[in-house]
Symmetry: C2
DNA sequence: GTCTATACAGTGATAGAC
DNA sequence: GTCTATCACTGTATAGAC
C-alpha cells in the first residue's frame, strides 16, 4: 500500500499505468484486480484513505490534543519528515492541480478542510479570532504546498526547510500579534 | 496558442490527448503535426516558452525596472489576474509536481529561477541582504503556488486573494525589518 | 495547409489455467 | 490467490488525398 502511494506520487494518476504498478509491486494484473475490482480509481481512493489516516493520527490529532507549542512543532517536523524535505510530493496537492475530471475532488477537499480545521483550532487556542485563525491556517498550508513545488522545480531541496522555517517563525509572530 | 496552454492546464500533460486537442482547437491531427512535428512534447515546449515570454514582460521586467513599490504591486496584481484568482492553475508548477519523466525540468527550473532572480533583486533594492532576499523571494513564490493549490483543493476561490494579501503584507514587514 | 484514413504500441480490464 | 493470455479501446504518430 505504501508502495502504491509512491507510484502515484512519482508518475501522477494518468502516468501510473497498470503495467508500471505490476512492475513495481511485483503483483500480476489478476492479483491487483482481485484486490481492487474498481481498478486504478479504487487503488487511488485506498491510497488517499491511507494518507488521510496517517495525517489524522500524526498531524491533525496531535494539533488538537497536545499542548500548543509542542503541537505546532510536531506538525512542522512531521510534515518535513513525511515529504522528505520536498523530495517527496504531496499526492493530494498534485491531484488538486491535475484534477482528473474531478474524480477525487471530494477526497481532496476533505483532506485540506480537515487540515484547515485542526490548524485553525491551534491558532484559536493561541488567542486568534476565528476568522483570522482560519486565514492564517490557510496561509500556512499553502506555504507548505508551495515549498514542495519550489524544491522540486528548482532541484534544490534546501528550499523546503528554508521556507518551512520562515513559516514557523511567521506562526509565532501571528500568535503574539 | 493560448488555447493550447489552456488545454494543458485543464487536463495536465498526460491527460491532454491529441484527440482532445484537435477537438478544442478545431484543427485536424495533420495540421497539428504540421505546426509541431515533435508532437505533444514540442507543443508543450512552445506553450512553456509562450508563458515565459508573458512573465518576462509582465512580471520579471517590471520587477527589475520599475520603482519598487509599484513593481511589487504590479507583480501581485499581475499574478492574481493571470491565475484568475486561483481558478486557473500554474502549468509550470503543475509540471514540477508531475514531472513527466523530467522531460521539461530544464524549462521548469528556468521559469522559477528567473522569477527568483527578479524578485530577489527587488528585495535587495529594498535593503535586504542577498542571502535573505533570495530566501524571502522563494517564500513568496511558494506562497503564490500554494495559494493556487488551496483555492483549487477547497473549491473556494476566496482563498487565493486572502493568501496573496497576507503575502503582500508580509512583504512590507520583511522590507521594514 | 488542412483533412481523412490508418498504423501500431500502449491502455485498463477480464477470463481461465495453475 | 496469483499469473498468463487476450480483449476492446485509446494513445501518438504518419501517409496520402484534396
Amino acid at each position: 500500500m505504501p508502495a502504491l502511494g509512491e507510484i502515484f506520487r512519482r508518475y501522477g494518476y494518468e502516468g501510473a499505468s497498470i503495467a508500471r504498478i505490476t512492475e513495481e509491486t511485483g503483483l500480476g494484473k489478476g492479483s491487483l484486480y482481485n484486490f481492487f475490482p474498481g481498478g486504478k480509481e479504487e487503488m487511488t481512493e485506498a491510497v488517499l484513505a491511507d494518507i488521510h489516516r496517517w495525517f489524522e493520527e500524526n498531524i491533525y490529532r496531535p494539533l488538537e490534543t497536545q499542548e500548543p507549542d509542542a503541537a505546532i512543532r510536531q506538525m512542522f517536523e512531521g510534515v518535513s519528515a513525511y515529504f522528505q524535505s520536498g523530495r517527496r510530493i504531496c499526492l493530494v496537492g498534485a491531484l488538486a492541480l491535475e484534477e482528473t475530471r474531478n474524480r477525487f475532488s471530494a477526497e481532496v477537499a476533505h483532506y485540506f478542510h480537515r487540515w484547515l480545521e485542526a490548524l485553525s483550532a491551534y491558532f484559536r487556542r493561541k488567542g486568534a479570532l476565528p476568522a483570522q485563525a482560519k486565514e492564517i491556517a490557510s496561509y500556512m498550508i499553502a506555504g507548505i504546498q508551495g515549498a514542495i513545488i519550489m524544491a522540486r522545480a528548482t532541484n534544490d531541496v534546501s528550499q523546503f526547510p528554508a521556507i518551512l522555517k520562515m513559516l514557523e517563525a511567521n506562526c509565532d509572530k501571528s500568535c503574539r500579534a
